[in-house]
Amino acid sequence: MSQFLTWIATLPPLAQIPLVLAAFGVVVALLIFFLEIAPRSGRKFTIARLAVCIVAPGLIFLALGSIWPAAIAAVILGGLFFILDYRSRQGAGYLFQLFGFLAPAIVLLAIGLVYPTIQTMVQAFMNSRGNRFVGLDNFAWVFTQETGIRTVLNTIVWVLIVPTLSTIFGLAYAVFIDKSRGEKFFKILVFMPMAISFVGASIIWRFVYTARPADQDQIGLLNQIVVWLGGQPVDFLAVSPWNTLFLIVVLIWVQTGFAMVVLSAAIKGVPAEQMEAAQLDGTNAWQRFINVTVPGIRSSLVVVLTTISIASLKVFDIVRTMTAGANDTSVIANEMYTQFKGFEFGRSSALAVVLFLLVLPIVIYNARQISKQRTIR
């Protein structure tokens, strides 16, 4: 594999795409083929399963440039797995299938995300060099200094305001433009911010917020408006605590597009009959919206709120590029990055753990939703 990738890397960029995709396609096709024939009974299929259980792990290990003993161990494990699968109560091939569908994702997640998560959890209780257990010291540091508390509070403000307002604006816009002439065009206008990188977004907002002295021409639009209205230019990003709100506006601006697109689709799924029936009952537009539309798109609302909440908890780029956390605008993700940069892995990990804790209510809520649905089905 290493050789294959090295060889591919020597090709021109555009030639690499089809080759890699083709290779990936072949692997996936093979996988699906074996998943299909796995549960069939008969000697032929049993042998095929056995062959795959033994050959696949060995090949994968060798392709990744592993040593022989490891590959042999993998082959033995593969064999054990075959026996396990063969005697499974759900019938031979059941475990094989389950494994085939889930393994690629689970293995990648374990390597790329689960392992760092565990490491972070451990580091949060260690000193900066990771060689001494310090108990809750790092957490104490977060919560005993003014900036630390400020950072946590700011993050909570972000996660309360951004999902709510983005969803409200997105929903309102989706309702207003629903079935209107030029709906697609209207959608693109609000969706555009999503297509802009955070670096681009921060430049855009500089041309909105920047303040110049009163006796000079303004280059920030908002300050120009203030001046036109007879006010004094304000440095919007410096005045605490309002500056956090001005940063939040940027994320709302970005996320509204996401909310709008998803909710607009959901609104179109609300049965027309219900609307008509409500209309016949003599309800007004607002009552119809509250009594028919909102219940109809409830689960989409949950998904949108969840996704945007997680995005706002993790917000980093906007703060980093616009204020770097000065003037009491820092958020947890930004502070975490700063500490990480400064080799303070203990403190950085402690902040990450605080972030995990903040997301717990969202996870629990979604978990309950999911199990509710399962019981419905």
Binding site: P116, W253, V302, F340
Partner: protein
Amino acid sequence: MSTTIPAQLPVDKTTERQLARGERAIERSLTKGTKNRLTSRGATIAALVIAILWTTPTLGLFVTSFRLPEEISRNGWWTIFANPGFTFSNYTEVLASGNSQLTLGGAFLNSIAITLPATLFPLVIASLAAYAFAWIDFKGRNWLFIGVFALQIVPLQMALVPLLSLFSRGLKIGSLTLFDGMDAGGYSQVWIAHTIFALPLAIFLLHNFVSEIPGELIEAARVDGAGHGQIFFRIVLPLTMPAIASFAIFQFLWVWNDLLVALVFADGDVAPMTKLLAEISGSRGQDWNLLTAGAFISILVPLIVFFSLQRFFVRGLLAGSTKG
């Protein structure tokens, strides 16, 4: 649960039918060409206000990118007519920029070469997993799924070092080497990194679409003797294709605009455009004229993708229910 659950989450059969009807009603009204006007005058105005508020900042960027550098820092972009000065030089200068290893054109190709596979890999892997979570019964399924969902919160910054270490040093138990480092260079590392980081959200969203497929369809196929492989390929994939395509656009946007992963995994001559644009302003960071033009160039491709796939996109989020 309330009566109707349209797009994201599993729905019962009645809802399913209602949804299909709703969609048909819309299609009917579309085919008749009787588009309604905005619901009311107030709504029209509100929609226009939102549209203007959301577009103005971007318009400012667009106008600024055509202004002379000295004008940009002297007066506002809205005074372009009072202070005329229109130039393409910001664009030509950005397009000519680059470092000793890469031109902007090369970085553009890199961006494409990174983004396409990094969009498709996670989609395929995630839809396989989403299928298992939705249609294969196994113990601990809910918990595993919630675990995957919760992984969305892991800050990427924390995950970069272990992954990089795996790529460069391989895996070792004590002095025993299990894997060699994957010193392949090229795009492989950035592909794999993006694939991994996209999985939690991709599985979460796709699961909701995949589980919406009516159970009787799957049952019918099973009775006909189809295995999971066939069901996945013949039923699930086609039915959720719009959903997959719509998530593909989101993933495309995120990978295209990513800087953090590229900084670590895409070096030297495989660096994408975001990385090069982040450097062009030099150590001073004051060349706003170049930054605006650069930002606009990098917006172009995502916008084209969005424009061309918008129809697909909107339909995609209605997935499953409409065709069931």
